[in-house]
Symmetry: C3
Subunit: 308 residues, 3 copies
């Protein structure tokens, strides 16, 4: 089965295959399934860019997209996620993309659903296609990961981007720096060394900013937006200390003038909108892998258990 739940489950070889495939798509590469493919996108949390990006990737691959409105769904009637996905499987959907507020929601589906599931974000857990698009953007810039310094800056503790990226970047040979207010340090994440923001910005080839998940977070610290920006954000002043050829990433949506000075969002160093473009290509690669795997595996699944 070619689910995609987390990058941690993928080998370096598999990750590089996905990035190579995405790179081919970015250059106009073409692929079509040998039979009609039906997919559904189950977004139980708001998202513009991730959902639209998957929708675009699906259409570029010629898939049929079955609309699924979480607000109008039977989940409102108390149906479990498992029964919802089994329903979609029964009516002929060939793959599902899921975003859900529960960490590791996919564990309840992993061994029982017979169509590929692509994780588009689980709670404070993982967001593998976001990590892949970050990796693709970095690789396009520097050609490789070994020897690079990547600074991940902001709310490390609550970020699925920080969790996914720090592990995989370390595995790929990059050095990871973390920088965050004391309150947002994450002792459970061993893949980065904490430094102050000025050091992080000055030493990094890649300055990867995180979104403040909830603006009230800053307020809880007793900081105004301006104060947060000054102490922990990428200000114009800090940006001038960045290394030659270094780049800025942000998973977006951006809180302008909080995590990053507004005028830097579309500056020469920024790859923020490039990341969004790359998101479509990595999702095409992930969807292609899912559908090809399904076709190769056939109906391998064990028969249902007989009760009684």
């Amino acid at each position: 089965m070619t689910h995609l739940f987390t990058l941690t489950e993928l080998s370096i070889t598999e990750i590089n295959q996905l990035l190579d495939e995405a790179e081919r798509f970015s250059k106009g590469g073409y692929w079509k399934a040998t039979e009609p493919v039906f997919v559904a996108n189950l977004f139980f949390e708001p998202s513009t860019r991730t959902k639209c990006s998957f929708e675009m990737a699906e259409r570029k691959l010629g898939f049929h997209v079955i609309p699924f409105d979480a607000d109008m769904s039977s989940v409102q009637k108390g149906e479990t996620l498992y029964d919802t996905v089994r329903t979609l499987e029964s009516i002929g959907v060939n793959a599902v993309v899921i975003r859900h507020s529960e960490d590791a929601y996919f564990e309840a589906l992993r061994h029982s659903i017979r169509i590929p599931i692509i994780n588009a974000g689980d709670g404070c857990g993982h967001h593998p296609t976001q990590s892949l698009l970050d990796l693709l953007t970095i690789r396009q810039e520097f050609g490789a990961f070994a020897g690079l310094t990547v600074a991940i800056i902001g709310d490390i503790r609550h970020s699925r981007v920080a969790r996914s990226n720090a592990e995989v970047l370390t595995r790929l040979g990059a050095k990871v720096l973390f920088s965050s207010p004391e309150e947002w340090k994450d002792d459970a994440n061993p893949y980065g060394m904490y430094v102050d923001i000025d050091t992080a910005v000055a030493e990094a080839d890649v300055v990867m900013l995180l979104r403040i998940q909830h603006e009230r977070h800053a307020e809880k610290m007793g900081l105004t937006k301006e104060q947060y920006h000054e102490r922990y954000g990428l200000t114009l002043k800090r940006a001038r200390k960045m290394k030659a050829n270094s780049i800025i990433l942000h998973p977006a949506p951006v809180n302008r003038d909080v995590e990053i000075a507004s005028s830097l969002v579309e500056s020469e160093r920024s790859r923020i909108f490039k990341q969004m473009e790359n998101g479509v290509y990595v999702r095409m690669a992930v969807l292609k892998r899912a559908i090809e795997g399904r076709m190769a595996n056939g109906n391998y699944f064990e028969k249902w258990q007989v009760v009684q």
Copy 2:
């Protein structure tokens, strides 16, 4: 005009034609309209499976689906259902599928709308495509309806499934048993004989469970879920008394361990997910009938009345 409002309005011949057509689709049968077809699905009540099932059927037939979001529609501005459907007709939609909370909402549309309307559920009234998928699933299992005993179990009074199915099954030659708590008996439905649940389960070839519409219903009777399950549900113990070759149906979404023991949902006797699969085929048959009827009838409709 080839509306589909209720099965009661269809002859046995018409019902069998629809089932035959659905059976053909289930075996990979192919049909395409001779010109582009545009449809819209107007769901004013939540539903995962019915809406997704229609969406799938429409795409398998190559139709274009115009998204309609009831929450964002002008119905919020007080527009009548008639004016909404007339609008869709005016912009070129060729057929509409409607689910609405009002019983027999379609009476206001029957003689004035010139495109086919397919009822996907009206209040506590009818749900003809659900009945058709139940019939198809039974026919696939037993080859015919005459001589079968079908037990319909649960909230008979508030169920559009019970209403639609009891009438048509009786007409097709099956014997219908009802079983329900005293509060949910339906004196207005003459097509079944009430028996206790143990008798119903033991005598039936088809055990058709109904969904408890609102969980508070059980609470109103002063019963916990566990007590309801024990008294009126398909428990593991009762399932062991089922006849050889008998099957379990449920329109879903299922309240696991209320109407039915959770482990029975995907047991060997269960056809619950088979029903969902069949739902796509019967909807393809109903949509094909609607569009073919429209094309055959042409613009037969009377000119608008001249006022003044």
Copy 3:
């Protein structure tokens, strides 16, 4: 760039070109883009007919439509409209249609977004495709605009239809009459002469009724719906005084028996549902113009500014 924000920005020549193109589409005219086109419809306010009409136009042109749900979007997370549209641009959307509650929301996008934007209604501002469909309906009836008298009746002050139409009709050579309760007169709109409703109805070739935006408006004046209808609406009695060959328009949704007697909505003089049909054709013309302009212009846009 071939944005469409307001008709005021278009020359008479451009307007006539759009109407000619729409007329061709109404007669079955065909056009397909030379490469795949992806569009998104961003509706931040409820609308059945405008959104469905664009969706239909897009599919008739063979475009791929990327679903965008304003309620589920990152706008809820405080993202600016600019960043949302830039995101869609980045993922490969080729044109966007926007309805937004803010007057002239497009000024923040005009010089910075590099894909065409089509205004589907801005606050109390403009609604250019509604004006175009009104113009097409009038031109189909009378062949030209010069010499016609058009009466616009109702809530002149809050209507983007009144604003757009009065200006362009005057420019095209028609005479515009306004009729409205004292409270709803609009001193800022110089393109019409106020007359009482009986005069307006009796002198007009085109009786263009406006929707009462909020039913409470009538209540604020201390009028029941019946009283409003009697004093300011198109009653059956007034309709009998209309000129030979004159027609009735309404942008819909209609408040039946408020702005207009219910039985007049589908009477011989009414072109209300014809307007809706024409809406699809003018939107096809506007979308074609947008995509052709984009292709002709190429990537003309200035490079982003380098900060630092």
